[in-house]
Symmetry: C2
Subunit: 304 residues, 2 copies
């Protein structure tokens, strides 16, 4: 068993990165590398690539592997949490192995999400097959709880059982349900377990309870403020900064997240190519983009 | 535009075939070919391979392609409806092309099922991208309405719009919601459109309304009776036969379908290897299998 590389444990503000696409809707690696670097410069502690926000489920295996190789070659491997969750175990194993090869800090794994009402025994067997398929003691796997997309919640008892069976491999959770009581339950139930909140609304609450921080889509456009909250959450301005961040986050509550974020990045960068999305997403459109920009400005975001 | 090969239009009793697995849980092509042949001998008019019952979402792209090649080499291509629906358009296109190469009668396509609450415009764009990606005027695509698994229903207006845009390619629907009013709405809305019921409970109702028949999982064990209903539905015994078939179908209403069917086939064939399932499914287990067998015998099924 190798030593834990604690220097590479994920903490803080992790951005669930968008995947820019060309006009032919294929991944635009150059823009992606540039985007990841900017976000790290803006204070993000890590980048989740190939997550829900990254439209990973709309990309083929080959496209996902090419993205990992590209990010690895750009020297970004160690800053990455890699979304690897597929419906088929062999696919998840393949992505997780590639993530390890590029030196990623961890992988984020959905449960198989086609079949519903499956048993905890079946979900346990599925994650166990992934871990044993990767067969790498250095694998650091985070469970991805996002029932609004999967229809397959990961209950605290299942999470606890997986961590107990694979304490070195099952190291945390991303709670994208935005359910604070779930996050809190898990943080108290499994001490030292890395339960990330999936919305920055709970960034400060998460840190206050000894949690590792937050993995969020909206950091694609809110990274500088989020990084400030992470630095100063315990200081005299912590409360005010968190309130400002929460207000900005809520501006996204009524829009489809991926097209909305791409529309805002396109405005921030003055680069309309950023608006491309793969179906089933559709671009946000001019009217909705203007309304969202107005809401974000009202909430305090400076956009050129 | 080539002529329609009406001799190969799917009609009648189409079995959603199970995928047998080896003890290492990899697809067992020999058992699969044997199973498909038996079902056709028992009177099935066609075989849906790589559907929900076939655990397709638990198989990698390579495993699915190998299955298609194997079924093609076994001379079964023309009897096949092939499940091709993936979350990513390029994957769906790849499977659909392979299905065409082996001479399959049609393909059955799920909507992308990871993102929820997507727009009809996004779903239309997704199916359009598949059809234009396959770029084959002979493609006969069936839309797979199974919201209990996808969380993404295909509303009648979307179906109608797709058929209107691609009348030669979008030729039907599989209604696995088991919602007769949905089937009926579509059969009346788009004359000549092939709306298959996803449960044999509605086989006779479907045929009576001019529908093409039924695609069902339970035909894996109920094929002979189903074939008899299809032959005699309009005759004096039609009502009685349908009632018997319905009763048998309902014996499966309280069990997980894939493990239950595999357990019954294992008993029918005296071949325990048939019980293997991939996670997140788990084997049905001895007690539940015995209870199910008892219910099936009570409902009139002869099992050795």
């Amino acid at each position: 068993m190798p030593e834990r590389t604690d220097g590479n444990v994920l903490r803080g503000v992790i951005v669930a990165a968008l995947t820019p696409l060309t006009v032919r809707l294929v991944p635009d690696l150059e823009r992606l590398v540039d985007h990841c670097r900017r976000l790290l410069e803006q204070g993000c502690d890590g980048v989740l690539c190939l997550g829900t926000t990254g439209e990973a489920s709309s990309l083929s295996m080959e496209e996902r592997l090419a993205i990992l190789d590209g990010l690895g070659e750009a020297g970004l491997g160690e800053r990455l949490l890699v979304g690897v969750g597929c419906c088929a175990v062999p696919d998840t194993v393949r992505l997780a192995r590639r993530a390890r090869e590029i030196g990623a800090a961890g992988v984020l794994a959905l449960p198989p999400f086609y079949y519903k009402k499956v048993t905890d025994a079946g979900l346990f067997a599925s994650f166990a097959a992934v871990i044993e398929g990767v067969a790498d003691p250095g694998l650091r796997l985070y469970l991805y709880h996002i029932p609004q997309n999967t229809g397959v919640p990961l209950g605290p008892r299942l999470v606890q059982r997986l961590h107990a069976a694979y304490p070195e491999n099952v190291v945390g959770v991303k709670d994208s349900a935005g359910d604070w009581s779930y996050t809190e339950t898990l943080l108290r139930l499994v001490p030292g377990f890395q339960v990330f909140s999936g919305t920055e609304e709970y960034l400060r609450a998460n840190l206050r309870l000894g949690g590792p921080g937050c993995i969020s889509a909206t950091f694609n456009v809110l990274a500088p403020l989020a990084a400030q909250v992470y630095r100063e959450w315990a200081g005299p301005q912590g409360d005010r900064l968190q309130a400002r961040l929460t207000l900005l986050r809520r501006a996204f509550s009524q829009v489809p997240m991926v097209p909305a974020l791409k529309a805002i990045v396109a405005r921030q960068r003055r680069d309309p190519a950023w608006e491309h999305v793969r179906p089933p997403h559709v671009p946000l459109g001019e009217g909705a983009t203007s309304a969202l920009l107005e809401n974000l400005r009202t909430a305090g975001l400076t956009i050129p």
